[in-house]
């Protein structure tokens, strides 16, 4: 069904009792042209772009639980394209442009709100690094403004500017950045993909791959039976190593837990998204009023979807350093998601050494903002068998070639990215 002011009025007149399901909960067929493993934002976006941009509509998305039950439902909903390295800069801007037209494309309110993202700097060296990143963005056609102290004071007057250890000196602002409603992104892609004939199959866990005599993947074995496939794409960040292991692959990835937090609702305070540059703390305020924030990963391998107290303390200290006034705000909820931490902090979108199997993985903790871009370039790869030009550097073999994309310069230590 198509959503509009008229469909809303019609439903209102009948007491909102006649809304149809927004997408079909399908049962598996014997065979599809493309099977996507993982019904999160990336998997569903891939299926939608396959159907809408590349004309491949005989597609299934297989999800172990319910769609959006993984990291799509466990993030801090931030969208931005303020990356500094070749490979990342163009890709995240492609994603940003897709965010800007997502609601029209999908006919779904994903609550994309370009309320601005500001990264605060606290030293001369950090200012120079941000100036460089801002310049990189601008020569690539992306909006960026380097704000001095006076401009930040005007925009966010309530910060603790005179923190003795980490005084705020200014910030790098991307006005087109902001937030989006994470669940609506999942439902929106499911809605639009399902309308084009994509089968979304829940409670369907992949337990193995089927291969022909030459070793080419011919389908998947699942908890709901065998499903044949011309090509199989995996978009299961957090569990990539486990799924890849079924095909005999080892990946340059470790799974780590990242926590996120929501406070009780308070009056409108924080105008956009802001980050503390002297630690690791990022925060926005949801439309319901809660402060949504997070920081570093816990730092040890985990599949447990829950974290521990030291990081919680560290994140809250970052918040307190910026805004001592939030000290009496109570924490309402806290959760953990499992991140694919790659060896250079950047994603992998490529064919695998196994014929017919394609991988979309290694999103570290930047996967949400990449959702539309990831779907677009992964669909391109699946449809055309060549990488999209904006994802040409996200190759699986770049570690062997020494062509890392390491924004943080940490080297092959995944828990430090």
């Amino acid at each position: 069904m198509k959503y509009s002011i008229f469909s809303l009025a019609r439903a209102a007149l009948s007491g909102h009792k006649n809304w149809q399901r927004t997408w079909r909960d399908a049962t598996p067929k014997d065979r599809y042209d493309v099977v996507i493993i993982g019904g999160g934002g990336h998997g569903l976006a891939t299926a939608w772009f396959l159907a809408s941009e590349y004309g491949i509509k005989n597609v299934a998305v297989l999800e172990k639980g319910w769609i959006g039950s993984g990291n799509a439902g466990r993030n801090t909903t931030i969208i931005r394209s303020n990356y500094g390295l070749p490979g990342n800069t163009g890709f995240y801007e492609l994603s940003m442009k897709l965010w800007e037209r997502m609601e029209q494309d999908l006919n779904y309110n994903t609550m994309v709100s370009q309320r601005g993202v500001i990264n605060l700097y606290h030293s001369d060296a950090q200012r120079d690094a941000y100036a460089r990143r801002g310049n990189t963005m601008r020569i690539n056609g992306i909006d960026a403004e380097l704000l001095d102290l006076a401009a930040v004071r005007k925009m966010i007057p309530f910060l603790n500017f005179d923190n003795a250890r980490f005084p705020v000196q200014g910030g790098l602002l991307q006005r087109r950045g902001g937030t989006a409603r994470h669940d609506a992104v999942v439902w929106g892609y499911a809605h639009a993909a399902s309308a084009l004939g994509v089968d979304i199959i829940q409670n369907c866990e992949v337990t193995g791959f089927t291969c022909d005599a030459k070793g080419k993947v011919t389908g998947v074995e699942t908890s709901r039976g065998k499903i044949g496939a011309g090509k199989v794409g995996m978009a299961v960040a957090g569990s990539s190593s486990r799924v890849a292991a079924m095909a005999g692959l080892r990946l340059p990835i470790e799974s780590h837990v990242l926590q996120a937090f929501v406070s009780e609702a308070i009056k409108p305070l924080i105008p956009g998204v802001m980050t503390f540059g002297a630690g690791h703390f990022y925060v926005s305020q949801s439309d319901k009023g809660g402060l949504v924030f997070g920081g570093d990963i816990d730092g040890y391998n985990s599949y447990a979807q829950r974290g521990n107290m030291p990081v919680m303390e560290d994140v809250c200290e970052g918040g307190m350093a910026l805004m001592p006034m939030i000290g009496r705000v109570r924490l309402l909820r806290q959760w953990g998601g499992i991140m694919d931490m790659s060896m250079d902090g950047s994603p992998i979108i490529d064919k695998t050494p196994v014929d017919g199997l394609y991988i979309n993985a290694g999103w570290c903790y930047g996967g949400f903002k990449a959702t539309p871009g990831s779907g677009f370039v992964f669909a391109h790869l699946l449809a055309r068998d060549v990488p999209h030009e904006e994802a040409a550097r996200f190759r699986l073999d770049r570690f062997r070639r020494g062509a890392m994309i390491d924004e943080k310069g940490q080297g092959a230590q995944p828990n430090l990215h």
Binding site: S241, P252, S255, Y300, Y303, M343
Partner: protein, 91 residues
Amino acid sequence: MRIVCPFCGERELGEFTYLGDAKPVRPEAGASEDEVFDYVYLRDNVAGETNEYWYHGGGCRAWLKVTRNTLTHEISSVEPAAGAGAAKVGA
């Protein structure tokens, strides 16, 4: 998660720093490119019980070999990493 250090007793997690999987062994000098690549970049990324190196920086400053379940965070054994931890970081 709390770790029972064999030297200091039960301590809170914040005192420890994580290095990672204890399985990869640094290849000998003259090893092939494949072996070095495997050691530096590829991981088993085990879901379940695994051995790993932790450093007790907030206590005795010893390297420890911890057996921990990555699905539950349950720790089943903690041993001193007799030279192995130090060797891994090149000390």
